[in-house]
Symmetry: C3
Subunit: 327 residues, 3 copies
Amino acid sequence: MSELRLADIVTALGGELHGEGSLRIAGLAPLETANSSQISFVSNPRYQPQIAGSNAGCIIVVPALREAAIRRGSCIVTDQPYLYFARLTQLWRATLRAARPMTSRALSIHPSAVVDPEASVDPTALVGALCVIERGARIGAGTVLRPRVTVGEDCVVGARCLVHSGVVIGADGFGFAPDGDKWEKIEQLGAVRIGDDVEIGANTCIDRGALQDTVIEDGVKLDNLIQVGHNVRIGRNTAIAGCAGIAGSATIGAQCTIGGGAVVLGHLQIADHVHISAATVVSKSIKKPGQYTGFFPLDDNAAWERNAATVKQLHRLRERIKKLESE
Amino acid sequence: MSELRLADIVTALGGELHGEGSLRIAGLAPLETANSSQISFVSNPRYQPQIAGSNAGCIIVVPALREAAIRRGSCIVTDQPYLYFARLTQLWRATLRAARPMTSRALSIHPSAVVDPEASVDPTALVGALCVIERGARIGAGTVLRPRVTVGEDCVVGARCLVHSGVVIGADGFGFAPDGDKWEKIEQLGAVRIGDDVEIGANTCIDRGALQDTVIEDGVKLDNLIQVGHNVRIGRNTAIAGCAGIAGSATIGAQCTIGGGAVVLGHLQIADHVHISAATVVSKSIKKPGQYTGFFPLDDNAAWERNAATVKQLHRLRERIKKLESE
Amino acid sequence: MSELRLADIVTALGGELHGEGSLRIAGLAPLETANSSQISFVSNPRYQPQIAGSNAGCIIVVPALREAAIRRGSCIVTDQPYLYFARLTQLWRATLRAARPMTSRALSIHPSAVVDPEASVDPTALVGALCVIERGARIGAGTVLRPRVTVGEDCVVGARCLVHSGVVIGADGFGFAPDGDKWEKIEQLGAVRIGDDVEIGANTCIDRGALQDTVIEDGVKLDNLIQVGHNVRIGRNTAIAGCAGIAGSATIGAQCTIGGGAVVLGHLQIADHVHISAATVVSKSIKKPGQYTGFFPLDDNAAWERNAATVKQLHRLRERIKKLESE
């Protein structure tokens, strides 16, 4: 088991340490369950009551909680404990890696990966086992493709991206013209362009554009099993949770969040700083920042059945109310 | 084509046979379409009227249908015909396999699979073509990984599990701390622990935990294209249908069922014996067993448009009713 | 960069050319952004006003727009400009391929694919890198499997199909019989039969049938991340958008469209020429052609909260209206 001393932590990440720098920390844990060799954090001053009762070896806190935390024991004071905690997980990962080095990490491209000779992979990138990189594709510096990722022809992945297992970048967009009863394929002549510092979750799909490229801007974070249709553009630092679907030609602004299972219909535009709740269907463009929601509230099944039946008469109910009012 | 005599079936699976044990059965089929060389079943006494008209070679029935079934022809009487039928499919599969052995079955690990030398695969497990098993991962006795499965670092799959093609176990959970406009990655330091007798459908994803492990208990059945977020715990024998999404840190009880396309939001708790209908959004914890539902009822598009518009005025409608009542 | 002369285009695809056949076209683009070396199209006469202002090198138009288009510059007149455009994308793709031939295209089966000796792959089919084709599976003439596709035991893919990366054909359907607290597996003894001219999007799953086969008829188009359960039948030329889920034993007619994220519950029947909107839940059979919809309309979060709370009292509201009316 790897350990870090509190002094090592503040040397690496900063912050104001109260307590013994020599204390050895063996792990990170939530406030309620942390033991004396674990470190935890509190971001929100309203959790102050829980501090006194925590057994954590050290707690990372905001300045407003300094006194309460010192009364309890070791603490690190910093303006943004959650951000500090995120960086601590990275320090921890690096420590674990150092203690248990990957023998195969010497190789940039796993020998089982199928990389077209006309693809370009930066020497500092890592391409996992059984990935497929087609010709003309480019993988940027420091980017990591986990095992079993497909990057299609001419698609570009920027620098410092992390692409999880099963991702498909650059399958054909879903485009067909009707020809009588049949469908005639519209060849998808664009590609996919992914910026820097993008993370893409397992089994997520990003389709190539029909004429132009599908574009994922810098800093976007996509969770698992997301569908991104052709010609979509997703703005900087937008984060999208699992199972969401972004239909073709939708444009999503920067700094947005989209909840799990949400659906954005095609050709819509969503402004910057829009937050879509989980399982919500965006059926028209959203021009104003804000939080938007739309899902049917859960109920016990019998109550739902009654209310759902009434939903289908809602328009008539309104007419009946109008009539009552006019009487 | 493989065949089984009725006598072979009752020898293997029990039950009370009425009719010729030498009758050869060439397949299983639903009651309405079964022919005289096929076997079928009836669980529910209210299907009794269909029995007389069936051409099936043999029918598996509950004791209450014994007389009706004997009048028609061959039958096997058992307390739980559907369960008997399930076991018969297994017997059938074994018979088919015996008649057509897999030459490659001798090998526990397909030569194209990429298994880290520090991973541990039980000698009785089968690892399909082009699977990736990362270091520290463990695969239990009798477990079958179908082709193209990823089991990430330190993740554990128990005994007698069946994991279908495209599954990703142990991708990173979706965790980021805001840092101004950007997102700082929270390294996912936990793993995934999967119990015994678990089945996981094609392209389903189970993320590793942030600090502790994501846990799937014994006997859980997951369908295809399901997202299970980090730190989730799914209780014993719970079954979840396709396209469902379980957000991070949700805890789902034992013996639950969750319908296709349902979404369970993060950090919620669902009690044992809760049944969630398809396409339902669970947006708060559920403490009482029961059936819960919440989706907008389908209607013809024009009616839906009128009613959906009225939904958005619902609160005001209620105020108008209140006013009318007070007058 | 590849180029086509207008004369080459009408030679290959027909249509009535007005303008210089020697004009070289370097790409396809939408009407608003096309430059003088690009070709565009207008299907709908109501876009006539945009024609005059377009900089496109040539515009494909319906006969009703012939005069307006000729006044502007080069045009090709055809009855179905969108279909013409689709075929032009195919001509374009062929031109690009000819200019940049794939060295590996000589091989029908990529050397990294794992094809069972008892599987049958038509010599004109292409099997991509790291595909798995199990024994008894058959791949038809001219069909293309992109990289990392699984075709399970005994499953059949017809002629001229296109199957994108990550697709899983023939995983087990989700079938279990209750056995006390546990689930007993129902072996899935059927297979999957896919017709001709079918396209299947990335990471989509089509499960094998329990007793009979799951059937996808000719000309069906499936987008990415779709779940098709066991025993489902999808009729000719039906198109289904991304993230949709079709539960087990559902039968969908011919010439239907199903929107993204829609869910069709199990054992239902949908007639021919039915159109289901995105994110709609089909919870009973649909016998009449038409457009059907059912999702909760999006609203700003605060308004949604008020209205959603009222939805749960809807049945009581109706009773109150009734009472007011009777007074």
